[in-house]
Symmetry: C2
Subunit: 213 residues, 2 copies
DNA sequence: ATGGCACCGATTGTTCAACAATAATAGCCG
DNA sequence: CGGCTATTATTGTTGAACAATCGGTGCCAT
């Protein structure tokens, strides 16, 4: 049964992102390998990949645990986002295929918002920003964003107040898309800067509130 | 003999970057494991990490080979650099510790240039840009740059004309540092934009010249 | 009781040997 | 000479084994 590896990595990745293993959870090689029906060695290869992506944390001789991003991580993630996303939007063409993905993400967000399905709202929000990055046509920047978006999802899982985290940004996504199409990239980039500052503040606020009970 | 893994990954990484295995070289698990004195399984874990970093390419059932970046990769690498480096410089503080590293890299480059030690000139150039990215104080952006800088070194190895690639930029580094200190980040960022465009053109020119004999 | 210390158990780190699955190659046939 | 098949070398994966390390347990001395 070869080629399990990539599938295994992706499966694990999805399950972690979906919150099946809470952030901070220790992942035992033996029990997890048994549970997944693979050998320890194969599982360890997947671990190395996920650790490199920042989804799990590896401490020598103490195994791996699901990453649990702290305040410093969130700050850094948003810093990176502010470097990449507004620039991608500013230089992006309205004719770029990713614009369709942006529009779909906006609509998906609106639909899910109405259904009060916060988790899906969060997914749609991420898809929206993913599409923004895709405007840059840069595989390496897309990979960076994929990784930090996954980490951010873990941070969201820690907070576990999806409505407050995701709901406010659906209308902002719509507005941002319209600004981009009607006023062009630079105007949208400026708007996105504020957007990201607000988003960061929202996440950090929820974080510190957590720490204080 | 535990904990070999991280050491092994770093050792392999250094040897690849240093050109011990030419870009495109196929890395056989059996022979390389024997050569390095580790087991296949351990080596495979290191492979997974390096593949994730883009240093080696993994094709299922065909093994791994040292990455050999093509024109598209170089273009993308420079695109990513233009997203990150000028912004880091624009927002960077002259009091940041990384400025010392920038200065050291400039001086190292000048010394090596005089000695006509092109390889060291290249290393100093990379250290200079690494320091620029460090201005952003972002571990994730630093990691991105570390990876694409490594890939770029592989591209340089393919070209193998280190003088043309590295020598012209020593004086530019000095000038850029002075602009940053005397005129501030935004002015330096603008200068760096042109710098990177020129650098990209240099690399791409050498590339296409390669293809034509 | 308490603080430090040696031991013990559980887990990770690593190796080895084996087999399955695949891709490239070589050789065969038409 | 081109296409098909068989061979072969390599990767993919497994299971078992042992070494090394970490954390905790319980003992001992104060």
């Amino acid at each position: 049964m070869p080629d399990v590896e990539d599938t295994l990595t992706n499966a694990l990745r999805r399950r972690i992102i979906d919150g099946e293993f809470a952030p901070g959870t220790r992942l035992s090689e033996i029990s997890l390998a048994e549970k997944l029906g693979v050998s320890r060695n194969t599982l360890r290869e997947a671990f190395r990949v996920l650790a490199e992506q920042g989804l799990i944390e590896h401490v020598p001789h103490r195994g791996v645990s699901v990453a649990s991003p702290g305040v410093a991580d969130v700050v850094d993630i948003y810093r990176a986002r502010r470097y990449v996303e507004p620039a991608a939007l500013a230089a992006g063409s309205p004719l770029h295929p990713a614009v369709a993905a942006m529009r779909e993400a906006v609509e998906q967000g609106e639909t899910s918002l109405e259904a009060r399905d916060w988790r899906t709202v969060g997914t749609a929000n991420m898809a929206f920003h993913d599409a923004i990055v895709a405007l840059a046509d840069s595989p390496r920047l897309e990979r960076l964003f994929r990784d930090i978006a996954a980490e951010l999802r873990l941070a969201f899982l820690e907070i576990d107040n999806p409505e407050a985290l995701h709901a406010p940004f659906v209308t902002r996504n719509r507005a941002l898309l319209e600004t981009f199409l009607e006023q062009g990239g630079p105007a949208a980039a400026a708007e996105l800067q504020d957007y990201l500052v607000l988003s960061e503040r929202t996440v950090l606020g929820a974080f510190t509130r957590l720490r204080h009970g």
